[in-house]
Symmetry: C2
Subunit: 378 residues, 2 copies
């Protein structure tokens, strides 16, 4: 079996992740941060250490507050619903946003009078048009910019630094969705002028399900969205004011955090980047002469990594997925990949979305060869 | 080490839980319900089977829709924020509610004009006064009743059937928080006239962190609270209308679900009930003549199980916890236990809350003896 759905979740994980999860499950899966006994304190230390590792891999110092959430989806809900919007606020997003952002913002749009604006995107290169973006910002000053770092549909690396820097000229609050980038390419919120970064544990970081979160690089007034027990200040009907605790109700998932801890300790971002870039270039190269296959690649190959979306002439994408699974034991994802806007630009609706190949550090050229051979045989 | 903080999270779990989690982690921790490949389908089957087991243990048929959430806290946020409240609606809760309910409702109170009403409670027996409750309902018709089944502070089993049945005379929507009951005593939403039951995986069910949820027994109009990708209907900016999918954005935590699955397969509710009742009666009995110790027990011993809260004269509760940990290697929880209202009735504030002993199926009379000996030695 060849697993190429790594953009959904990386699989497998490093052995250390499995071992650490099992160990913590058996030895100290207790309620961290709430009990004062030693076992609970050990669990708390593991959480602190894991947050330090997140900071380290993002080049951040102790001032950046790391919040753990059960998933990046929940983290993005906490961020987007936690911000307060003035009437008429302009919220810019790219057409590459995932439904964790798009649907959540759509919910905001229904309650508040805000303008959701899509960044101008070139229909041929599928890349954000920076010049037009500048012009848009002049016309409609950006209050918030929320951007996907790497597209989960096409592997396009968005020019976040250019866009966020431009936005900051107008005082925008910048939010980065690093679901498909953190662990794969350098994420540097300070250099990129990001205020809040949301991250996923189970994707490019090779951690487990059940843990994600966000990092507040700069102090942005964010309200609590999810309420509950915090093991502190219990008689207060409001969430505590502490900038982390107010976002972390409920028992922390110490087993998932332990898995993430192990993953972060063996994480080699530069190694992952080099390997996946090589592998995706190899895949693109091998398919580039195939007339039946159309790939959706950013105009500039430097802006591409890890994910290839394609269609096969004469086939619905779902059918390609089924054939790859049943006849070749190759797992890919097909359809719209929870990204509602981009398909109008890719124009892939005739094929009911794309066939998406998501690579990981554990994939090999042999995996890619088998996939390409299968696609040729179709 | 003797672990007596089982009301926070049960520890340890059955061996089968650890084994199943490790197995699924290694073999098919992929994105269930989104990929069409066989591996993803196996993950989906595991989810369906686990939901069937939840239904079975609640005596429900297939019509009851089971929603998985990352925790019961998030489930309660989804329920409480998903309901729509008319102006002036009366929401009854008991003073035993946890902050997952109390703080979330406080958030509602700040946005909507609703009345949060505490059920009348006898200051001597610490029990809900049913007669006074009936009278309250006559005066202020209940629109919603949200009740803790078993108090996480005192182990009091609330008379939910009486209260919910009385509420139904006025057409109330009844929500049960079964965090401390499901798995320990019989939870029968149909008999108890419950519309929605929230449940926790990692407490009395002996499942892992990272999985909880709610069951809609009757069809109550509930809106989505958390938005995100659902692997379906991706081009729609609204959450899908399906009564389960609309509440389950993001990748399901298949590893936690696998652990819950294993836990539910070995779950023996009646066995747990008998064991914990015997053990808590034994603890109460052994401490009842100790003049330094005051226990907060419901007036009727039949309404008590699994948890004992106490204070020790001359000590802050936190200090008792520290001494038990350091000198006797006994883990208990101290403080207010994320329950904001009940302490005004227990009048334990002088001691900064209670020392809480939370029992589990894995505790023994020897554990209780060692705790009691330690308390006597204080």
């Amino acid at each position: 079996m060849i697993y190429l759905d790594n953009a959904a979740t990386t699989f497998p994980k490093p052995e250390a992740v499995y071992e650490k999860m099992d160990e913590v499950n058996r030895k100290y899966a207790v309620n961290a941060g709430r009990g004062s006994y030693k076992l609970a304190q050990e669990a708390s230390s593991l959480i602190s250490e894991t947050k330090s590792l997140i900071r380290k891999h993002m080049h951040l110092d102790i001032d950046a507050s790391v919040v753990f959430s059960p998933s990046i989806t929940i983290a993005l809900n906490q961020i987007i619903n936690g911000l307060s919007y003035r009437e008429g606020a302009n919220i810019y997003i790219s057409p590459y946003e995932h439904n964790a952002v798009a649907r959540t913002l759509h919910g905001i749009e229904q309650r508040c009078k805000v303008n959701i604006r899509l960044l101008p995107t070139d229909p041929d290169s599928y890349e954000i048009d920076i010049e037009k973006t500048r012009y848009e910002f002049v016309k409609n000053k950006p209050d918030y910019i929320i951007l996907n770092h790497v597209s989960n549909v096409t592997g396009y690396i968005l020019p976040i630094r250019d866009i966020f820097k431009e936005g900051k000229k107008y005082g925008s609050i910048n939010v980065l969705d690093s679901a498909q980038s953190f662990g794969l390419i350098d994420v540097n919120p300070v250099m990129d002028e990001v205020d809040i970064v949301a991250f996923a544990g189970h994707k490019c970081l090779y951690g487990p399900f059940g843990i994600g979160g966000f990092v507040c690089v700069n102090s942005i007034g964010l309200s609590s969205f999810i309420m509950g027990g915090t093991g502190s200040d219990s008689l207060n009907l409001d969430m505590p004011s502490d900038s982390v605790t107010k976002f972390e109700p409920a028992s922390p998932n110490i087993v998932a955090i332990a898995g993430l801890n192990a993953a972060l300790k063996v994480l080699d971002i530069e190694g992952n980047r080099v390997h996946e870039k090589e592998l995706s270039d190899y895949l693109v190269n091998r398919l580039s002469n195939n007339k039946k296959v159309k790939m959706y690649l950013p105009g500039n190959p430097d802006n591409h990594i890890g994910i290839v979306s394609l269609i096969v002439e004469g086939y619905d994408s779902n059918d390609v997925g089924t054939i790859l699974d049943e006849d070749f034991e190759i797992c890919v994802r097909t359809g719209y990949h929870c990204a509602p806007y981009i398909h109008a630009i890719l124009k892939d609706e005739k094929h009911k979305g794309t066939v998406r190949i998501g690579l990981s550090r554990f994939n090999t050229k042999e995996d890619v060869d088998k996939l390409v051979d299968a696609l040729i045989e179709l």
